[in-house]
Structure formats: structure tokens, C-alpha cells
């Protein structure tokens, strides 16, 4: 049966996705399709299944039921070079002897480097320079600040020129200025490559201003769409049980998006 084509293939497509860990229901019957080139913020309370969703897309967690497609294929069949992943850098093992150039090169090789080839060194330097971290190249990551680590991890994700970038709470532990820089770097990369971005965040306001789409999750999909619609009072109340006050964020965001 040939279905008529309806525009470009979604970057991420979930059909009736359910994930269970024993008795614990992490995600229930999630359906959505992320259009290519979207900048998607994933919001939801703690334990909402945000990280589980990212792990399913990375092929690290198997769905209990339902269908998952990433860049047109099941997650385990996608060439990992098409995906850039920025983990929560607070999990970094600071006792591991690593230079920034090793960390970025691991994104190229999909293995830990012993010595870099001249070609690798060139690409790693370019990736670090693009995020304003060229000076960190030969320095040990064990002493990096949150902001420095974040840049190195971004360079690591960008160095393989991915079509889909996934970020797990990338703004945690960095200051406001660093956060603004990060959104600029992400938006620049997206403009240049047309990549799709998927980012878990606790910051509704940043989601409102920077994302083209927002996923509001609390095990079930509560809202998905443009920020104005997904971050509605109804969705937020359903996901978080309250709206804004506890986080000191008002719903009347105001201002221009993508400003």
C-alpha cells in the first residue's frame, strides 16, 4: 500500500511509544512527529520521562511497545555519526586523564584517541574554534568550569556534522551569559546545517524564546507544538500541577520570540 508523501520525512517519529522498567511506567503511549530543522525543547517535571525519551532515541533504551523512527530508521539502525549527543556534563569523571582535544576527537572517531592524526587535529581545532574554545584544545578537562565543559561538549557534538543534535539539560551549571552564548551557538549551527535540535530543559522561558516546538511531557504527552500553544496554562497545569509561581516564572512571557 503506497501512502501519499506528505512533505519531508520527520526527523523523529514516535507511534504509541511506551517504556516500562519493571512496574514503573516511564513513558505511556507517546505519539509525535518532529519536522526536520525544528528546535525542540522537552519540558516536564522530574521523573516525567524526558531523559528516558532521549535514551530511546539514542538506542540506549528499548521501547516496551510502539514504534520509534529517528532520521527515518529504528534507533539501533541509524548511523550514529548522523547524531550529536551532549550529555549532562555534571556526570563527567574528572579523574579520567583527558584533554579537550581527546574529548572532541572521540566524537570523530567513536573511540578514544591515542594520538590524533594531522587531519583529525585540524577538524578538532576547527570545531573548538567554532564554539569559541580554541584556546582549550590542549588543556585537561578535569579543571574546566561548567561553561568551558559545555563548549567542549558542543564542539564534540558538532565535529561530526550531525543532522540531529540531542542535548540533556545543557544549561545546568552555567551562568546566564554562558546560556545566551549556548543558544547562539546552537542557532548558528542550525542555520548553517539545517539540523534538528532536541533539548531537555527545565527553563520554560528559554524554551519559549528559542524553540520552534515544545514537548510537554509527564509520562504521557501533554502538549506538543509551537511554544505559544504547548506552553499553555492548561498543559503546564496538567504537567506540573501548577503554573509558574513555584519557579517564579510568569506565563505572560511577552517579548518577541527568537529575539
Amino acid at each position: 500500500m503506497n501512502e501519499p508523501r506528505r512533505g519531508p520525512e520527520p526527523a523523529v517519529e514516535l507511534r504509541n511509544l511506551t517504556v516500562r522498567f519493571g512496574d514503573h511506567l516511564a513513558l505511556e503511549d507517546v505519539n509525535l512527529a518532529v519536522p526536520p530543522g525544528a528546535f525542540v525543547a522537552i519540558v516536564g517535571p522530574n521523573g516525567a520521562g524526558k531523559s528516558t525519551l532521549l535514551k530511546v532515541l539514542l538506542g540506549l533504551v528499548q521501547p516496551t511497545s510502539g514504534e520509534v523512527r529517528v532520521l527515518g530508521s529504528p534507533p539501533s539502525r541509524v548511523d550514529p555519526r548522523r547524531i550529536g549527543y551532549v550529555p549532562q556534563f555534571k556526570t563527567l569523571d574528572r579523574t579520567f586523564p583527558a584533554l579537550a582535544e581527546d574529548l572532541v576527537a572521540s566524537g570523530l572517531r567513536r573511540a578514544w584517541p591515542g594520538r590524533l592524526t594531522p587531519e583529525e587535529r585540524k577538524r578538532v581545532r576547527a570545531a573548538l574554534e567554532r564554539v569559541g574554545a580554541g584556546h582549550l584544545m590542549g588543556r585537561a578537562v578535569s579543571r574546566f568550569s561548567g561553561g568551558e565543559l559545555q563548549r567542549v561538549y558542543l564542539a564534540r557534538a558538532f565535529v561530526r556534522r550531525p543532522e540531529l543534535v540531542m542535548l540533556d539539560e545543557p544549561a545546568t551549571g552555567i551562568d546566564v551569559l554562558g546560556e545566551a552564548d549556548m543558544y547562539r551557538l546552537l542557532e548558528d549551527y542550525q542555520k548553517e546545517t539545517g539540523a534538528t535540535l532536541l533539548m531537555i530543559t527545565h527553563d520554560w522561558e528559554a524554551a519559549y524564546h528559542h524553540a520552534t516546538h515544545v514537548i510537554v511531557l509527564n509520562r504521557r504527552l501533554i502538549g506538543f507544538g509551537p511554544p505559544e500553544r504547548a506552553l499553555s496554562e492548561r498543559c503546564l497545569r496538567e504537567a506540573f500541577g501548577h503554573v509558574g509561581h513555584a519557579h517564579g516564572i510568569s506565563l505572560s512571557f511577552g517579548g518577541n520570540r527568537h529575539a
Binding site: Y85, D102, R110
Partner: protein, 265 residues
């Protein structure tokens, strides 16, 4: 001083010690950075259970110790990956269990088994050509795994990143646990089960003090291992000291100097 090395038993001890320095220097950084420093010690106790079973059955103890220790290493890895128990606890359980088995096996033998004690303290000076062949075989096997070094190191740095890049992290854990078990059994014959863990842990921990890359840590660990084996054998010969213990004391000395010289400021 050089005449020390003209004695055949010293030559065998040197070759065996150098092979062990290479092997332990290669695997040690993985053990240390994965937080498995206790594993070497645990596997050595497991190996003792295998040795005791071999003595009870009246066969060459190492032939029993190798599969026995490998099985324990795989069991520890399974418990670590498939249960809610941490790696150090899994090692603690298996190590006590195998040691208890070993004690029961020795008691069943109902005769004095002095040979069991040579495995407690090791005897690098009593290395046989068969031991040398076993060490060399293990070195060759390790050389075959060199292409896997990059992905092992990647998973050691961040298991999730490696898994997201399709590194078969679980398979690699089992493979590495198996190979480390073999190193421990061979090393036990040389330095004794009480000191085996030192070979895996101390040179790597010492090298970590001054190295900034993981490759540097491996090369440094091999270097510390080689220097302590050569110097340890010479010193133990000259002063009539137990050789395995002398080598370990020198490793600890290098670690102490490195820790003081390169301490975090």
C-alpha cells in the same frame, strides 16, 4: 651488579616480571579508572579457590584456577550489570565465596598442603618455562585485542556516550573481565595472591599523577611496572629479600613520590 642477570633463574624471573609489567600496565588504567581496583584482589582470592580445587583433584592447580577465576570474573560482571548491586559489593561477595570454597577444598584434602602457600606469597624466582609460556601466550592474546583499546578507553571515559556510538559496552565488559582474570592467575604464581592487585593498581595510579592523557597513563603504568620489576629483582637478590614484596614496595615508593610531587594545588 650485572652478574645477577647471568643466573638462569634470575633471567626467567626477569622475563616473567617484565611480561607482567606490560600486561598489568596495559589493563591497570582500565581497572583504576573504572573504579574496579578491588577487582584484582577479589579475583586473586577466587584464583586461590581454583588452586585449592586443583590440589584436591590432584591436577595442575593453574589448569583449574584459570577457568575458575574466569567464571568468577564473568559472574562478578553479570551481578554488576544485571542486579541492583554495585561492583565493589559484587567483588566482595564472590571473593569471600571463592575463598571459603578454597578453605573447604583444602580441608577435604586431609593432608598438609604446603604448595597452597606458594600461591599465597608467590615465587617469581621459581618460575618454570611453562609459566613463561603461559605469560607469553597471554601477552600475545592481549596484543590481539589492541584494536579494541580505543573503544575500551571510550567506554571507560563515559559508558553512555560509547553505547550511544554503538560500542558493545556490555560485551566488552565481559571480555575485559575475562582477560583481567587471566592476568591475575598468571601473576598470582609470580607475586602471590596477596600482592597481585598491587600490579594492576599501583603503577596505573602512580602514572595518573603526572599524565594528562589516557594513553600517557598506560605508557606510564608500563614504565613504572618495568622499572620496579628490574630494580625490585636486583634489590631482592642483593639483600636476600622476598622478590614479589620488594617489587610491590618499589611500586608504592614511586606512587608516593609521584603523589607528593604532582599533588593537586
Amino acid at each position: 651488579m650485572l652478574e645477577v642477570w647471568s643466573l638462569p633463574f634470575m633471567q626467567r624471573a626477569l622475563v616473567a616480571g617484565l611480561i607482567m609489567a606490560l600486561l598489568a600496565g596495559y589493563y591497570g588504567p582500565f581497572v583504576v579508572q573504572r573504579g574496579l581496583s578491588f577487582l584484582g584482589s577479589g579475583l586473586a582470592h577466587a584464583a586461590f579457590g581454583g588452586v585449592a580445587l586443583g590440589l584436591l583433584l590432584g591436577v595442575e592447580p593453574l589448569w583449574v584456577a584459570v577457568p575458575f577465576t574466569a567464571a568468577v570474573a564473568l559472574g562478578i560482571t553479570w551481578v554488576r550489570e544485571r542486579t541492583h548491586i554495585r561492583g565493589d559489593t559484587a567483588v566482595g561477595i564472590f571473593f569471600a565465596f571463592s575463598m571459603a570454597l578454597g578453605i573447604v577444598f583444602l580441608s577435604l584434602k586431609r593432608e598438609y598442603t604446603a604448595e597452597a602457600f606458594t600461591y599465597l606469597f608467590g615465587s617469581i624466582l621459581a618460575v618454570t618455562p611453562a609459566d613463561l609460556w603461559a605469560s607469553a601466550g597471554l601477552l600475545a592474546l592481549t596484543a590481539l585485542t589492541l584494536p579494541l583499546w580505543g573503544r575500551w578507553a571510550y567506554a571507560t571515559f563515559d559508558r553512555e556516550l560509547a553505547a550511544a556510538d554503538r560500542v558493545p559496552v556490555m560485551l566488552d565488559d565481559y571480555l575485559m573481565a575475562f582477560l583481567i582474570a587471566l592476568v591475575v592467575v598468571v601473576a598470582m604464581k609470580l607475586v602471590g595472591l596477596l600482592l597481585v592487585a598491587a600490579f594492576l593498581v599501583i603503577p596505573a595510579a602512580a602514572a595518573r599523577q603526572w599524565t594528562r592523557t589516557f594513553l600517557g597513563m598506560v605508557l606510564g603504568a608500563v614504565g613504572v611496572g618495568v622499572v620496579s620489576v628490574v630494580a625490585g629483582l636486583a634489590v631482592s637478590y642483593s639483600y636476600d629479600l622476598p622478590s614479589g614484596a620488594t617489587i610491590v614496595l618499589l611500586q608504592a615508593l614511586v606512587f608516593t613520590v609521584a603523589a607528593l610531587a604532582f599533588r593537586r594545588r
